[in-house]
Each structure stands twice: as structure tokens, then as C-alpha cells.
């Protein structure tokens, strides 16, 4: 009877940073992605006779990823949104690359590590940040 007269109060979940949570996973993945981009820029330098102009875009991209990684781990919503946009662009670029590969003049060679780094990694980052945004909204 007393249970009816004194209903239990359900406490709303409290928004606390989760140590070692999605944000930290995204941080590690973003660092890895930045490092992979820096490695790839060496391949352009090699063919373009070391012309440093070709380093500008990759270094800007790597810097952006480092900045985003730092703020993603600090749980800034704008950084999560930034990663979502960037990774969506990466996946869209991959899809466009597949279409270009259908042209008769060129082909696109896709291998196991290429799938992991060009599809798996951006998709994982997108997944983590979309979840972070959703969890942030719920709390």
C-alpha cells in the first residue's frame, strides 16, 4: 500500500565523461588517420621530385585531424560534428573514386588494407562520433 502512496522517483541519468569511452577510441582512430595521411604524402613527394607544394594540403589535413582529435577527446560537440562531416566527405570521396574507376581509361585497385583504411576507418569514426552526438543529446 505504501508503495502506491509513495511512488519511487527515477533519477535521470547524469552526464559524466566516460573515461576510456567513445571519445578516446575516436581520438586514437583520428591519430592513426592523420599518421596514414602523412605517410601517403611521402608517396606524392617521391613522384613530384620533392616539391613541398604537395605537402601543404596533406599537412593541413593532418593538422585538422590532430586538432579535432584533441577536442573530440575533450568532448566538444563541434569537434564531433567536424569529424562527422570530414569522415562523410572521406566516404563520399571513396564512392566517387569507385565511379571514376568505372571509366574505360582508368581502373581502381582496391585491396584489403585499402578497404580497412579508406572505408573501415572513416566508417568507424563516423559511427563513434554519431553515437557521441546522440548520447550527448540524450543526456
Amino acid at each position: 500500500m505504501s508503495e502506491l502512496t509513495q511512488p519511487t522517483v527515477v533519477q535521470p541519468p547524469v552526464a559524466v565523461p566516460v573515461p576510456g569511452g567513445r571519445a578516446d577510441v575516436a581520438y586514437v582512430l583520428l591519430l592513426g588517420q592523420a599518421a596514414l595521411g602523412m605517410l601517403a604524402s611521402l608517396g606524392v613527394l617521391l613522384l613530384m621530385a620533392g616539391n613541398p607544394v604537395y605537402l601543404v594540403a596533406p599537412l593541413l589535413h593532418a593538422t585538422l585531424l590532430f586538432v579535432l582529435a584533441s577536442f573530440v577527446a575533450r568532448r566538444r560537440r563541434w569537434a564531433w560534428w567536424g569529424v562527422v562531416v570530414l569522415e562523410a566527405l572521406s566516404l563520399a570521396g571513396f564512392a566517387l573514386n569507385l565511379l571514376i574507376g568505372l571509366l574505360p581509361q582508368v581502373d581502381m585497385t582496391l585491396n584489403l588494407v585499402g578497404l580497412l583504411t579508406q572505408v573501415g576507418l572513416p566508417a568507424a569514426l563516423l559511427w563513434q562520433c554519431v553515437h557521441l552526438l546522440a548520447e550527448g543529446k540524450r543526456t
Binding site: 613522384l47 581509361q105 585491396n111
Partner: protein, 401 residues
């Protein structure tokens, strides 16, 4: 799109299949344990609680550890190596599984995992560097997995209380991860380049290089090499020699590169270097394939004011057409997996981890083959010329540019 499965060594297929099978098996096992936990089985409930209490970084690391454990345990199925190598594979696989269990149980696992990961990556790159095996897609994918686990176990957890140790450790761990990715990729790259050079010499000399490359269609670090077959027959050798001789006669008139330019060849890519490619676009789509009278590209060495004709490069008009291997395995066509950058327009080589810089597209042109008319070591169809040899030739026979 082609060659999705290129670059996987036959020795490593069992490991890849084990990982692919491991995913549904793990999912099924997880559901079975969770069901037992729901029914009140104590050990299952304890395991589920332990798993649920682990941070996501640890759960990801555990998944990565299980993947690399499965790969190492399954490698001896395909690698018929020495008993010591088999024992090392099995031992490291078991060690990874034990560390994964430690991580789930909440015991210490990070230091041992980091050390074992670094040791494994260094050992793999050393074996690859010494020519013990060619870095294939399974090896590189496993290295990526190990680098991810390394990053996850090095990364100190963000805690509400910031201590000096954490403040220092985080950037240090981050820098280590970035350096590990770049260095491991650079080493794998250097090894690909070295093996690409070797292949030409061994294939042409007939001695054969019996690492994976002889039967593996490589698709790493910018080079896609068609698998080789057995030694060429006498008839094939004669045919290859005939094309080489006719090409040498045909392009002899282009010793002076200005004659080539007047005939429609134009320099593409770097202006200086030991392999300058002058391409004649009119020959690219003329329907003539491997025609000594109309090679698509002429290759020169040109630097420090001197230039010398090295030979020709034949190219197929479309990437879906295979070049005619007139000399059997002594005339192996190849192509390149290149990055096409937009800002600014340029070309690069795809990294061993399959990446291009942001904003670049990956393209694979038609197959090509070099034919050297300067009697290089390894013969006229050798894939790559030794740089010191080319420099010496340029110094001796180079014309003023």
C-alpha cells in the same frame, strides 16, 4: 575496380579465413554466454559484468588482441616454416589471447601488450626487410590492427583528476602512435621498392626470386605486378629478343631527345631524374600494341645538363586489357596504383596501407612494360635499372641537354 584480393599471399589465406570465420563465431559465443548469464549461471554473469564494466577503449583493444591472436595461431596452417617459427607464431598467439583475458578481467595488461606489440611489429618488418617474406595484405592488415591496439593500450585514460603523469603521458603516447604508423609504413615501402628492383633482375635472369612475389599478384605501395609463371620457353625467349632488337633499331633515331620531341613525344612528370618519361599521345590509342615502330613512351635519364636514351615503355590502352607476355615470365607487365592529387594536380604512390593524401583519387592506368635498349644488367626486359649503373651510363654516353 579490380584486384580486390590481390596481394594476399597463399600462405596467409588460412589466417585471413580464420579471422573472417572468427567474427560470427565470436558473436555466437557472446550471445551464448549472455543467455547463460540471463539464466543466472554465475560464471557467465560474472564475465558479462566484467565486460560491461570495461571502458570502450579496453573492449576495442581486446577485440584487436583477439584478431591478432587468431592470425598468429592460424599462420602455421599456411606457413610451412621451421618448428621455431611455428612455435613463435603459436606462442605469440597464446600470449595475445592471455593479455586479452587479462584486460577483460581488469588485471594489468597495458605494459606487456605494448611491449609485445612493438616486438611483433619490429620482428615482422625485420623479416620483411631481410627478404624472409614479402609484406602482403594480411601482414599489413595485421600490422594495422596491432598499431591500433598499441595506440589503445598506450593511451592513458582521461580521468576527472589531471595528474602531471597523465598530462605528460598522453602527448607522448600520441606521438609514439603517429611515429609507429609512419615508420612502419616507410619501412614496408622501402622493402617494396627493393623487392620491385630485385624482381626485374631475377625474372629476367631466370634465377627467380622465390618469395611470395613469384606467384602473388602484388598490389602494394603503388606497384601491381602480374604473377609470374614458369621459366620462359625457347620460343618465348626468341620472341622477346626479336621485339627487343626491333625496338632498339626503331628508337635509335631518338638518341637526341629533340628528335623525339619533334616526332610528338613530350615530357611528362619531373623534368630531371634518372627516368624521364616522354609520351606520344598519338600512339596511346592507335590500336597498335607492343609495336616497335610506335612505342607509347620513351624513357631517358637526364640530370645535371646531360641526357641519355634508356629505352621504351609500352603501355596497354585500357586497364582491363592484359599486355601480351611475348617472352613468358621474362616479360612481366605491371601497372601502378597511383594517387592523383587535385590541389595542386600531381601524382603520388599509394602507401603500403592503401592510403592517398586527403583529396586525392586512386587510379590504376593500363599495364606497361619497360624495354631497355642500353644492355643493362638483367637484360632488356628487366623491370628496374640500378641507379649507380644509370648514372655511370649518363656520365659516359649522355648528350648535352
Amino acid at each position: 575496380m579490380s584486384d580486390s584480393l590481390s596481394g594476399i599471399a597463399p600462405d596467409h589465406w588460412p589466417a585471413l579465413i580464420a579471422v573472417l570465420l572468427g567474427v560470427p563465431v565470436t558473436g555466437y559465443a557472446r550471445r551464448a554466454v549472455w543467455r547463460r548469464a540471463d539464466r543466472g549461471v554465475a560464471w557467465a554473469a560474472a564475465l558479462r559484468d566484467q565486460w560491461a564494466s570495461r571502458p570502450l577503449t579496453v573492449r576495442w583493444a581486446v577485440a584487436g588482441l583477439v584478431v591478432t591472436a587468431v592470425v598468429h595461431v592460424a599462420l602455421p596452417l599456411g606457413h610451412h616454416g621451421s618448428p621455431l617459427m611455428t612455435a613463435l607464431f603459436l606462442g605469440s598467439g597464446v600470449a595475445y589471447a592471455v593479455l586479452a583475458a587479462q584486460a577483460v578481467a581488469g588485471r594489468r595488461w597495458r605494459v606487456a601488450t605494448a611491449l609485445l606489440m612493438v616486438a611483433t611489429i619490429v620482428a615482422y618488418l625485420t623479416v620483411v626487410g631481410q627478404g624472409g617474406e614479402e609484406a602482403d595484405q594480411v601482414g599489413l592488415a595485421t600490422t594495422l590492427d596491432e598499431l591500433l591496439v598499441l595506440g589503445l593500450c598506450l593511451l592513458p585514460q582521461r580521468a576527472p583528476r589531471r595528474t602531471m603523469r597523465r598530462v605528460l603521458l598522453r602527448p607522448l603516447a600520441s606521438t609514439t602512435l603517429v611515429l609507429a604508423v609512419v615508420l612502419s609504413g616507410a619501412v614496408a615501402w622501402a622493402q617494396f621498392a627493393h623487392q620491385h628492383d630485385d624482381h626485374g633482375v631475377t625474372a629476367a635472369s631466370g634465377s627467380g626470386d622465390h618469395d611470395h612475389g613469384e606467384y602473388l599478384a602484388r598490389a602494394q605501395a603503388g606497384v601491381i605486378l602480374r604473377p609470374g609463371a614458369g621459366p620462359p620457353t625457347e620460343e618465348q625467349q626468341r620472341a622477346a629478343a626479336d621485339v627487343a632488337e626491333r625496338t632498339k633499331v626503331s628508337i635509335g633515331k631518338y638518341q637526341d631527345y629533340r628528335v623525339a620531341v619533334a616526332a610528338g613525344y613530350s615530357l611528362e612528370g619531373p623534368q630531371e631524374g634518372l627516368q624521364l618519361h616522354f609520351t606520344n599521345k598519338a600512339y596511346a590509342n592507335d590500336g597498335r600494341i607492343l609495336d616497335p615502330q610506335a612505342p607509347e613512351t620513351l624513357v631517358y635519364a637526364g640530370e645535371h645538363g646531360r641526357i641519355v636514351l634508356l629505352g621504351a615503355m609500352y603501355q596497354m590502352p585500357r586497364p582491363d586489357l592484359q599486355g601480351p607476355a611475348v617472352g613468358g615470365s621474362s616479360t612481366r607487365w605491371h601497372t601502378h596504383n597511383v594517387c592523383f592529387t587535385l590541389l595542386p594536380p600531381g601524382l603520388g604512390i599509394v602507401s603500403p596501407y592503401g592510403t592517398c593524401p586527403f583529396g586525392a583519387f586512386t587510379v590504376t592506368p593500363g599495364e606497361m612494360i619497360h624495354l631497355w635498349t642500353v644492355d643493362p644488367p638483367g637484360g632488356p626486359w628487366v623491370e628496374h635499372l640500378p641507379e649507380p649503373w644509370v648514372r655511370d651510363l649518363l656520365a659516359r654516353q649522355g648528350l648535352p641537354r
